[in-house]
Amino acid sequence: MDMNEIKEIFFQECEEQLAELESGLLKLNDGDRDPETVNAVFRAVHSIKGGAGAFGLEELVAFAHVFETTLDCVRSNKLEPNQDVLKVMLRSADVLADLVTCSRDGGSVEESRTRGLVKELEALANGEAPPAAEAPKAAKPAAAPAATPTDDSGFQPIPFTFDGFGEEEDAVEQFTYEVTFKPARELYAKGNEAALLLRDLSRLGEMSIACDTDQLPALESMDPEASYFGWKISITTPKSEDEVRAVFEFAEWDCELEVKLAEVSADEELPMVPVPFDLSALDEEPAEIVEPQPKAVAAVEAVSSVAKAVNAAVEKKESAAAAAAAATQNNAVAAASSAGQTIRVDLDRVDRLINLVGELVINQAMLSQSVVENDTNGTSNINMGLEELQQLTREIQDSVMAIRAQPVKPVFQRMSRIVREVADMVGKQIRLVTEGENTEVDKTVIDKIAEPLTHMIRNAVDHGIESPEKREAAGKDPEGTIKLSAKHRSGRILIELIDDGGGINRERVKQKAIDNDLISPDANLSDEEIDNLIFAPGFSTADKISDISGRGVGMDVVKRSIQALGGRISISSRPGLGSTFTMSLPLTLAVLDGMVVTVAGQTLVVPLTAIVETLQPEASAIHSFGANQRLISIRNSFCPLVDVGRILNFRANQANPVEGVALLVESEGGGQRALMVDAIQGQRQVVIKSLEANYTHVPGIAAATILGDGRVALILDVDAVVGASRGQSLKPEMSLAAAG
């Protein structure tokens, strides 16, 4: 793995942290005061800052730092996260997200925006915090993550690079320092080691060392964890006193340390024995360095026996540890893997697997078919085995599809930012409530749903919800609510967007449709049909196209995007109470449950989800209407009859409905149609193969598939066929039919 890959991981992680940040802030906004929520928010920003620092993304670090400082005030209860504070923070989260995007894709965030927010954040941090402690921290120029400021305790990180030591030595002035070092027991308790510190010190220059063993008690009263030794070191080095002290950086609190420039002859005042400091001895046998020369024989013997005992113990521990290590390695691996419940897999691999499973499904279907053709009695083991194979294939397919399934949460979270921004822009107060964020759907669907959903949300904010004054006048809460929900329903995902705004202004919609020549002035439309006019191409209800809803992009584009996903969208609206947009989407774009039918000798697949029922028309139920329209009467209502073979130009003349089968389908406009086909072959799951990718778009055809016998069958685009049957216009034939 190289740095670029890690950077990629960093940006992925940023996305997650940003999502975490936003959902945390929104929770706080809803009154959640769980410290863990605040912590999670803080951690998210902190984490982004940490990673950004490693990649030298200074702008990002700088902003994250200021943000983090303010969040820290919230965390330490110095700042109450009220609505105003959270508003700033939510906007900061947006800027942070933009900075991340810019760091990844290039470009830059408007400096004024960043600077303004930095000021606001700093004001928040300063306003509430005790000025002495917090102010300098917040005011600190944020772009200095690598700076090493001092603090009162003198506890400061000093970069400890040892580069270029040797070269300097001969050229520069040399100093001799007297260092007195007496560790406290805490030094050892914290995992520091006097010998290692002395080793580091020895690297600074020429040194001689003496060990003070005066405090060493008799063996029987010795505390194995106490610290008895002190050292007096004389070192000659070109380094400054601070640099010498820096060696003891980690140990400063846990020892007595004195560093001073040596007086001319300050050698032996104490009864100590100088020992030439031999670094190699340290690496071989750590106990040796603390072994003093004999002063009192008994004491020394005691010391060396202690040293030996320590050595022996260390060795024993080490060999035991080595043995244990091998055995426990597996445990560690097991522990690590049990803790991580997810793995990241390259999407290409998953797609390849899905493709292969698709082939498997086709292959299995072909196998089944040829066995059925050759094994007429149907009792052999092959048949039973095949049935099991079919089940297994189906299960494998479902499991593979589940790999691609993702919760809709990220998309929903993005929407809350859009609501916020657009509401600010148009001066409305709007709350976004989300539900069922954990509903899972295929990743492709998630990726493709974001854009139409964004557009709908913008529309809902811009046109759906009224201004606070208007709402108050109507006796409503000045703050509007938009609810976005997702749930599974009968093998599809249902996404609802509900606003409590003014609802569709039907008079205006109808007038607009008439003005735009979408309907004839005398059309008699049901409320539902009027509402659905907003999806008609070239329809826009806003009197003037605003920035927010985009230029010339109407709900018809939204509808087309949804349909391209094999989905449907509809609207229901209640004047004064709001509108509900309902989108129903397939859970996957890879397979489809279809009805296999024959039309003029061709095999077609009709998506099962579109079919309401199938029926065998009787001659008496067929009525002619106009020049070449026909209606079928079903349970006392009339439904236009669509000859699929005619629409697709499979044949020149209309087929006789009585000889075929009618598929009653639900079309997007809310009305029903009866599709005429010649015969039904059966129902089966098919693997969708894109026609566009392999050939070109064919009107009326959604995609293709390969059947069990190896033949290619086209999948019917029901809505396109229905649309073609009415010449892509909304001329009121439909309502007449409904009225009839």
């Binding site: 793995m1 740095m3 890959e5 890690i6 991981i9 960093f10 992925q12 992680e13 912590n39 999670a40 803080f42 951690r43 902190h46 984490s47 800052k49 940490g50 990673g51 620092g53 490693a54 993550p145 690598a146 700076a147 090493t148 400021p149 603090d151 009162d152 305790s153 506890f155 400061q156 990180p157 970069p159 400890f160 690079t161 308790a189 914290k190 995992g191 520091n192 080691e193 010998a195 290692l196 580091d200 950086e249 980690f250 609190w253 340290l282 690496d283 750590p286 080595a322 244990a324 290590a325 426990t328 390695q329 597996n330 445990n331 560690a332 097991a334 522990a335 690590a336 803790a339 991580g340």
Partner: protein, 121 residues
């Protein structure tokens, strides 16, 4: 024998950087994502040195260090703390919890290896 380093950090980015840096420097690296997992993994892995972050979910770095120091088997293992800035208060708390030393972020491979070599024989 390779020296073994246990790293505890909740950031996937930092974990990967630690992994790459330490492996390149010839260390054996074992990783955990938070304090709780760190303590779990510790039991089997017998590290020569531990590198831990402070801000983590479930159990933060302070709690983790205290946990290690309470464990008779590992209480003498050197622990280095990754801190983002020179936050004296944070470092002090880490020290009180039993940290051996610290590494100041932004993450710098050379600094990390230096600090590890300082506290290990």
């Amino acid at each position: 024998m390779k020296k073994k380093v246990l790293t505890v950090d909740d950031s996937r980015t930092i974990r990967n950087m630690l992994l790459v840096t330490l492996n390149n420097a010839g260390f054996e690296t074992i990783q955990a994502e938070d304090g709780i997992e760190g303590l779990e993994v510790l039991e089997g892995c017998n590290p020569d040195v531990i590198v831990t972050d402070i801000n983590m979910p479930r159990l933060d770095g302070f709690g983790f260090i205290e946990g290690v120091r309470r464990n008779d088997k590992y209480r003498a293992v050197p622990i280095l703390v990754l801190t983002t800035e020179s936050d004296a208060e944070k470092k002090n708390r880490a020290r009180q919890a039993g940290a051996t030393g610290w590494i100041v972020k932004p993450f710098d491979p050379a600094k990390l290896i230096d600090a590890i070599e300082r506290v290990t024989a």
